[in-house]
Amino acid sequence: DESLEYFREAMGVMQHHDAVSGTEKQFVANDYSRILYESMDHAGEIISKAIGKWSGMESSTAASFKIFTCLQLNISSCAFSEKSDTFMAVVYNPLSRPVSTYIRVPVQGNSYVVRSLIDGVYPTVQIVPIPEGVQKIPGRKSNATNEVVFRALDIPPFGILAYAIAKKIQENVVEQPQ
C-alpha cells in the first residue's frame, strides 16, 4: 500500500543516532516532527480500512466509516472527541497479550455515558478536570476542560474494543406547584 511508504521512509530516517538520542539540531527536530506527522496522516486511511474490516463496522456503516487519530492525547487534546457530543472510541492493543487499561478521552462537557459496542456493557465512568497547567501549554489549541475516564477490560492481543461515548442530556425537571 502506497500510504505505508511514508512510514517506511520515516523508519529509515529515524534510525539515525541523532533521532534516537535527541541530539539533532532544532531544524532537524522540526523536520523529524514533520516526517512523523505526515506518516501518521497518510496512514489514516489504511487504519480505517483495517479497523473497519476487523470490526465488521465498514460493511454496516458503508463508506461513512472513518477513523480519526488523536495525536495530541499526551497533552489531553483531541479535536475529534472534544467537538462531538456523540462519538466512538476505538482502542487498539499493540501487544501480543490481552490488556486491561484505563482510557482517558478529552471532552468539553461534564457528564457522559459510555457503552461497549462488543457486549453492550456500560463501564463505570468518571469525569476529571484537565489541570490548569496542561490547559495553558503554549500551542495547545483545545477547548477540552475535562477527561472521560473508564476501564477498557481485556482488549484482545493485536485486537480492538470499541466504545460509544455520548454526552448525557440533562433532563429539565419541571417543579410542580404545591
Binding site: A29, I51, F65, K66, F68, S81, V91, T124, E132, R151
Partner: protein
C-alpha cells in the same frame, strides 16, 4: 479526607514543604517525591574541564541539586474509577498523581516547562524519589529493556574509580526501569518510565530521573548549538509519566510478572482512535 488520596496499599499526601509523601499501609516503606534542578555548567570549551553542559553531556555546575521554592498548591479529585491529586509546584512545574481502583501502581503525570531563562541560567530539572530503604550504594537500571544491570555508586567493576564529577559520573541510561532493593527488609521499589531518561541513586534509598533540560551553551561535541529548544516562541513544555511500584519481594515470580506487564503497558500503551457515529440514542447501538 480531602487532604490525601489512598487505597488499601497506599496513602498519598502533600507535606508542608510541598513534597509528596507516599506511605505503604502494610509495609514499612515510605517515599518522598520532590522536584529539583541543577544549574548547567558553562565553560569556554577550550579543554575538557571547561566544557559546558549540553545536548551530549550532563554536567551540573554545583555539587548538589537546588530545591524549588514551593509556591504551589494541590487539589484532590476522588471518584469510583480514579483518585487524582493535582499538584502544582510553581508556574512551570506540576504533576497529577493518580491511583486507579484496579491497579497497584501509582501514576505520576509530570509537566515541566517552559523552563525560564531570563536569568540567563541553564537549568536541568529532575524528580527525586527518596525512600527509607537501605540500599548500600546499589541500584539497578535496565539496558534497553533487556537484563537489569547492577550499578554501584562511585564504582566500576573493572577499574579503580576516582570520579571528578560525582553527579554525572553516577548517572546511567534508564530506558524503561530503575530499581532499588533493600536486601534485609526484602523490599523493592521501581519506577517505570515512558521514555528513555537519565537516572541515578546519589544517596542510599533514593533515586532521581532527569525530566527536562534547557541550556544556553553548546557543549562542543558536534551539535554546534545550545540545547535550548523552543516552540511557539517559548521554551518546550514536556509531559510524561512515571509508574511507581514497590513492596515485599516474597513471591518474586509474581512480582516480576506484574512488573513486566506494567512496563509493556506503559511502553506500548493501547492506541485510542476516534470514529464518528450517527447516533440518536446510545441504547440503540448493537
Amino acid at each position: 479526607s480531602a487532604s490525601f488520596i489512598s487505597n488499601q496499599l497506599y496513602n498519598i499526601s502533600v507535606n508542608t514543604d510541598g513534597d509528596l509523601t507516599v506511605h505503604w499501609n502494610k509495609q514499612n516503606m515510605n517515599v518522598v517525591q520532590s522536584f529539583h534542578y541543577y544549574i548547567g555548567a558553562e565553560g569556554n570549551n577550550k579543554n575538557f574541564i571547561n566544557r559546558s553542559s549540553g545536548a551530549y553531556i550532563f554536567r551540573p555546575k554545583e555539587l548538589s541539586a537546588r530545591n524549588f521554592a514551593y509556591s504551589g498548591s494541590y487539589k484532590i479529585y476522588k471518584g469510583p474509577v480514579v483518585q487524582e491529586l493535582h499538584h502544582t509546584i510553581n508556574d512551570w512545574v506540576s504533576q497529577v498523581v493518580r491511583i486507579y481502583s484496579e491497579e497497584q501502581h501509582i501514576e505520576f503525570d509530570w509537566l515541566v516547562g517552559p523552563i525560564p531563562i531570563k536569568d540567563k541560567i541553564g537549568k536541568e530539572i529532575v524528580t527525586r524519589y527518596s525512600s527509607n530503604l537501605q540500599t548500600d550504594k546499589t541500584f539497578y537500571t535496565d539496558s534497553n529493556g533487556r537484563e537489569m544491570l547492577k550499578r554501584v555508586r562511585n564504582y566500576r567493576p573493572t577499574w579503580n574509580l576516582e570520579l571528578m564529577e560525582p553527579i554525572s559520573g553516577n548517572y546511567y541510561p534508564v530506558t524503561s526501569k530503575i530499581t532499588l532493593k533493600d536486601e534485609k527488609k526484602q523490599l523493592k521499589l521501581n519506577v517505570l518510565v515512558d521514555r528513555a531518561q537519565g537516572g541515578s541513586s546519589l544517596e542510599d534509598g533514593d533515586f532521581e530521573l532527569m525530566l527536562h533540560r534547557r541550556l544556553l551553551k553548546d557543549d562542543a561535541f558536534g551539535v554546534n548549538e545550545a540545547l535550548n529548544e523552543t516552540a511557539f516562541g517559548e521554551g518546550l513544555v514536556v509531559r510524561g509519566t512515571h509508574y511507581l511500584f514497590g513492596g515485599k519481594v516474597k513471591n518474586m515470580d509474581t512480582f516480576v510478572l506484574k512488573e513486566k506487564e506494567l512496563a509493556l503497558k506503559l511502553a506500548l500503551h493501547p492506541w485510542i482512535l476516534g470514529a464518528s457515529v450517527n447516533l440518536t440514542n446510545i441504547e440503540n447501538i448493537s
